[in-house]
């Protein structure tokens, strides 16, 4: 177990290292941030000073070496644009994104799995067919369009929910969150629903397919032959068997929701990391881009680790020793 955790840790360090190198090179290839950061009226001397100040006068490999040395000490550099620590900027925006992603996944799991179970248990019923048809829409419609339509309907026409922003936040253990106040929840609802729709549809379809497959298995028939109530047959015998693929998808999707909430955050002016990244790319603010990607990759690695641990908890045939092979 300890060996397993250590091995996973080592793997993630390698991934982080490779990722930072790729980002460094690609941002370098895109262009010179000084052209954007320094005002057009600046003279050659000022530009020279700016380049020197940001350390851009040195060769790329040296810049990278400096970055690595500082990163090893926990310093991911200062933002070119704001001249504050890049990691600080990201951590400041992270709670908003995590809250949005968490709310979206909660909606997706809380609705998707029950809907999928229902559709799987009664595949011929009209409600099941409606769920399946709706889910096709759910994952075919582009997120930005869904977001805009929701804003149109619920904010513009009905006037029930606010169209943008995060609303007032409440401090929970020093972290600002929206979901504790009524007004905050109202702000959270539309962006979370927009972000959840795709995952909800995916989970409903996955759960339905798994349920139908499990229902045809002998162990379900045997469970019924034992006289178990339907609630126990479905809630324990079926559900526990189909959870492995569902948990995999939840893990993958949670990572992608956090990393790619950018579109939704832009539509609803949600002050999260995605918005920050877009702005940073606009001015080629390399330290912020690199720091953002490092944080995202770390989150992915953590989520995958949790998913792997969940496997072995859910399915006794999966042992961590095998996962190592």
């Amino acid at each position: 177990m300890i060996l397993y955790a250590f091995r996973r840790l080592l793997e993630s360090v390698v991934v982080l290292f490779a990722m930072s190198l790729v980002v460094f090179l690609s941002v370098y290839a895109i262009g010179n941030p000084v052209d954007i950061l320094v005002s057009p009226q600046a003279d050659a001397q000022e530009i020279e000073r700016a380049i020197r100040g940001l350390g851009l006068d040195r060769p790329l490999w040296e810049q990278y070496a400096v970055f690595l040395r500082q990163a090893a000490a926990g310093d991911l550099g200062h933002s070119f644009a704001f001249n504050v620590p890049a990691i600080g900027l990201i951590l400041e925006r992270m709670p908003a994104t995590l809250e949005l992603a968490g709310a979206a996944m909660l909606v997706a799991v809380g609705l998707g799995i029950p809907l999928g179970l229902w559709a799987g248990l009664r595949p011929e019923s009209a409600s099941a067919k409606a769920i399946m048809a709706g889910s096709i829409l759910g994952f075919s419609l582009p997120t930005f369009w869904v977001g805009l339509v929701l804003v149109m309907v619920f904010s513009v026409w009905l006037g029930w929910l606010p169209a943008s922003g995060r609303g007032p936040t409440t401090d929970l253990l020093g972290v600002p969150v929206s979901f504790l106040s009524r007004e905050g929840l109202r702000h959270l609802l539309l962006p979370a629903a927009t972000l959840a729709l795709f995952k909800l549809s995916l989970l409903a379809r996955l759960t339905r397919a798994g349920t139908r497959e499990a229902l045809a298995q002998d162990y379900v028939k045997f469970a019924r032959a034992k006289g178990l109530a339907t609630r126990r047959v479905v809630g324990v015998h079926v559900l526990k068997n189909i959870l492995v693929p569902i948990v995999t998808v939840i893990g993958l999707e949670l990572g992608s929701v956090i990393a790619f909430a950018i579109v939704t955050e832009t539509i609803f002016a949600w002050p999260g990391m995605g918005k920050l990244l877009i702005d940073a790319i606009g001015v080629l603010d390399r330290p912020v881009i690199v720091a953002y990607l490092l944080v995202t990759v770390t989150l992915f690695v953590l989520i995958n680790l949790v998913v792997d641990l969940a496997y072995s908890a859910l399915d006794p045939r999966v042992r961590l020793a095998e996962a190592r092979a």
């Binding site: 002998d218 162990y219 032959a225 034992k226 006289g227 015998h237 068997n241």
Partner: protein, 323 residues
């Protein structure tokens, strides 16, 4: 005279598919008494498994029991609602399935799967259910049952898993056990052990046993009575020795002849010509007539049941001996 543990009268279970009605079970009658073993024999698709599932009320759509009565200890199961049937399943009537690799849930411990069967029918504490589970494992000959309760099915061999499934079936001391080819998927040596144990467990508890199989050798060694099914009907029924030694129905004769025996070494095995008819398109009259060398114009009508002097029943216009 006591009431038979199971009495099936004129059972008809049909499947309503897009391609027409499949008469999987079409007018089956038999009975089993407490402590007795009935072998239900037939080829694949003869309707023997569907008969078993019909008794448990576990026929899935598009299948449906369309006619007949199933009396378990005098109670008509077809008159019961879903909850009434559920309460009987696993308690008064239990079933053992064919493939032990598939019947146990792979993600639940053996102990859970045993104990939930107890708690589905009786209000007992978790600890008490676990004690019963331990005792049930010990009864079917599993060593160190205490440690085994926490194990998962994949940690057991096929034979051991079938023992566990048998322990689950017998844990509530049912009056009737339906065994659907439980030894077919096992090694011959394990098969023998399971057969002997099943026999003694049933005898000890006084339960009635319906043993569904295609293997006449198993029936010969195990059952008291045998019912031979063909195309959804029982064509011959009676005490096992009489039926196997002196079959009356040409189909039974064909089945007996196609078993390899040591006496007939070197001689080619006799086969039944042709194939079993598709249950979706059964011919009118005797379903066996197209494969039968004794068939005549009379066989275009459906043969009724004829009772013989020695208590057998046969459905044939041209039995091999005068009944």
């Amino acid at each position: 005279m006591t009431v038979a543990t199971l009495r099936v009268e004129n059972l008809r279970t049909h499947f309503f598919t897009r391609h027409g009605v499949v008469k999987a079970v079409d007018g089956v009658s038999f009975e089993v008494r407490a402590g007795r073993i009935l072998g239900l024999v037939g080829e694949s698709g003869s309707g023997k498994s569907v008969t078993g599932f019909s008794i448990l009320g576990l026929v899935d759509p598009p299948g449906r029991i369309v006619d007949g009565r199933i009396l378990l200890e005098g109670r008509d199961l077809r008159a019961l609602d879903a909850e009434g049937l559920r309460a009987l399943r696993g308690d008064r009537v239990a079933m053992v399935f064919q493939d032990p690799m598939m019947t146990l849930n792979p993600v639940l411990t053996i102990g859970t799967q045993l104990a939930e069967t107890v708690r589905a029918h009786r209000r007992v504490s978790r600890a008490a259910a676990r004690d019963e589970a331990r005792a049930a494992l010990a009864r079917v000959g599993i060593a160190s049952p205490d440690a085994r309760l926490a194990a998962y099915p994949h940690q057991f061999s096929g034979g051991m898993r079938q023992r566990v499934a048998i322990a689950i079936a017998l844990i509530n001391r049912p009056a009737l056990v339906i065994a659907d080819e439980p030894t077919t998927a096992l090694d011959v040596t394990i098969q023998g052990q399971i057969l002997a144990e099943m026999q003694s467990l049933v005898r000890a508890s006084g339960a009635a046993l319906v043993w569904i199989t295609h293997d006449l050798a198993v029936v010969a060694g195990l059952a008291d009575e045998v019912a031979v099914m063909y195309a959804g009907r029982i064509v011959e029924r009676g005490p096992v020795d009489a039926v196997l030694d002196r079959p009356l129905h040409p189909y039974t004769r064909g089945l007996v002849d196609s078993v390899p025996s040591r006496r007939a070494r070197g001689e080619p095995l006799r086969q039944i010509p042709g194939m079993a008819p598709s249950p979706a398109a059964l011919p009118a009259g005797c379903a066996f007539r197209s494969r039968c060398d004794r068939a005549s114009a009379a066989c275009l009508a459906e043969p009724g049941a004829t009772l013989t002097r020695d208590g057998r029943e046969v459905r044939c216009f041209h039995p091999l001996e005068a009944p």
